[in-house]
């Protein structure tokens, strides 16, 4: 992972470092050997207490039945058994999956298209770029509010526009078949600008002589894109997809504000369900079990992602 990150953010540096020794060996006095540990201690202590320990405690809690009032009762794997027999859990899992896949596909796909569209550095393109970046700098809470109002079934702008072209209004957030797609729409609207920005800056890093060579070989625009642009920006795409994936898994704000998981659990995601079981129903053991499942999913995704795709990414 270190290598991947390094090559994405510091492509030039990793090449230079291959030639120059990164650090000079310095003779140290004995006491100085402790210094690096002292320097990293505050950061590591915080990460330990607020990331590592909570994970351990979560796994521990998942074997217990506890509602914060009565003493903890050890139930073994009962929480997991209940969970895997609960159709609601699978609905939540499916929702999370649905949300993640579509947000990724549209968020990355549209960003890629927008980046190609805005590649030339002209005044109008710069305006468009800041326009699509605008939602990214707004707090998610505000974004959720705007869209709740735009998607209002009776007075919303979207349904009014649909009415103009003679289509029936959609109950964006109340219809269980539509609600999840409404949330996906909002997420894509919010994240596409950032993705475009990263992809654009990656595209600008592709050396011009490669395009020159492609032109001399009479490669068409499609071929140039797939054979040169895409491989050259693949490290950025790789990283961006992973970050988007994690962002999808942790999405909470839009669900909580726009739909509160409803209608009929149609928009409840794993994180939202975890929050509900923990803070609303006080089933801490069950909530922790859901957390463990989410953690395993994230871990598996990261491993598979680095294992399967990481090798195919083209690094200069």
């Amino acid at each position: 992972m270190e290598q991947v990150l390094k090559r994405i953010f510091f492509p030039a540096a990793s090449r230079v470092q291959a030639v120059l020794p990164a650090r000079t060996a310095v003779r140290r006095r004995r006491g100085a050997a402790l210094l690096p540990y002292l320097l990293i201690a505050p950061a590591l202590a915080l990460l330990f207490v607020f990331v590592l320990y909570p994970i351990g405690y979560m796994v521990y809690l998942s074997f217990f039945d506890w509602n914060m009032i009565k003493p903890k009762e050890f139930v073994g794997l009962q929480n997991f058994v209940t969970m895997f027999h609960d159709p609601e859990f699978f609905q939540v899992l499916g929702n999370t999956f649905q949300y993640t896949v579509w947000t990724l596909v549209f968020g990355m796909g549209l960003a890629l298209a927008a980046a190609c569209f805005l590649k030339k550095d002209t005044r109008i393109n710069r305006l468009l770029q800041s326009a699509i970046f605008l939602p990214y700098v707004m707090p998610l809470v505000s974004v959720a509010f705007i869209w709740v109002w735009l998607m209002d079934a009776d007075y919303g702008l979207l349904n009014w526009l649909l009415g103009l072209v003679g289509l029936p209004g959609i109950r964006w957030l109340q219809d269980s078949a539509v609600a999840m797609y409404s949330l996906i729409l909002v997420s894509v609207w919010k994240c596409v600008g950032y993705n475009t920005l990263i992809i654009l800056s990656a595209m600008q890093g592709v050396p011009g002589y490669l395009y020159e060579a492609a032109r001399l070989d009479k490669a068409g625009p499609a071929k140039t894109f797939f054979k040169i642009t895409l491989p050259m920006i693949s490290p950025s795409l790789f990283f961006l997809t992973l970050m988007n994936l994690i962002a999808c898994f942790k999405m909470f704000e839009t669900v909580n504000i726009m739909t509160a998981g409803g209608p009929a659990n149609a928009t409840s995601t794993l994180v939202y369900s975890l929050y509900q079981y923990g803070f609303k129903f006080y089933k801490l053991g069950y909530a922790s079990a859901e957390g463990v499942v989410l953690m395993v999913i994230i871990g598996a995704c990261t491993l598979v992602y680095f294992g399967a795709l990481g090798k195919r990414v083209h690094y200069r």
């Binding site: 992972m1 270190e2 510091f10 470092q17 990164a22 650090r23 000079t24 210094l35 690096p36 002292l38 320097l39 990293i40 505050p42 950061a43 590591l44 915080l46 990460l47 207490v49 607020f50 990331v51 590592l52 405690y57 979560m58 809690l61 569209f117 305006l127 326009a131 699509i132 605008l134 939602p135 700098v137 707004m138 707090p139 998610l140 809470v141 505000s142 509010f145 705007i146 109002w149 735009l150 007075y155 702008l157 009014w160 609207w189 600008g193 994690i246 942790k250 909470f252 909580n256 994180v271 975890l274 929050y275 923990g278 803070f279 801490l284 909530a287 922790s288 957390g291 953690m295 994230i298």
Partner: protein, 253 residues
Amino acid sequence: MKRTVCRTARSAVSILMLLVFFVPVYWMLLTAVKTMGQCYQTPPAFWVSNPAWDNFTRAFEAIPFRNMLKNSLIVTAGTLLCQCVTVIPAAYAFARMRFRGEKLLFGAVLATMMIPAQLIFLPVFLLFSQAGLINSYISLIIPHGTSAFAIFMLRQTFRQVPDELLEAARLDKAGQWKIITRIMLPLARPTLLTLCLLTLVTTWSDYFWPFVMTTNNDVRTLSVGVSMLRIVDGGVDYPLPFLWNRWSGRCTG
């Protein structure tokens, strides 16, 4: 012929993009100054001639605005300060020093980037409630007091500082402290600025953490306050949230 078609299509796409991204924002600003009646009007009004500025006063009164603004400022500044104190030394050690377990520890730091706060808030909440620290600034600031991403970015920047400079500093008998403050930090200024800005924006607009770590309004931040406007009004009084959005949107932008 083909060129004109191309250009028309291009313009059409450009205009569509502008509309899709500007109209919702414009709609938010507009709704902020609409009266109730204007909000529920069909066809919707695209312009209001006499803006209802008193929406702002009403929103400021609906939630403890002053207190929440203060909380947002304290939490953002505290998080920023705490991250500086933890990230800079750690990045320096990982970049310029060699010690046992360096690789393993750095790998562990990077791995924590994959764990979102939304996954572990429950144990952290229990931890703080055992310590009696729920509804305190500590519970909002300290858990975000360091950043794996920032450590990584700063470490890479520190590594790019030429060795000759450090060599010269050592010949002048500069201590580690002097090397960090006089050489490393000034040279890493662009990265530092970017990281600070990133922390500032994420902390200011963060909703989830203050939402789950508080049970009353004492230390709640503005983003939670904004969401409360809707809950307080039962989702009926829409103009209020809108104005709020505008306000917080401007502050984070």
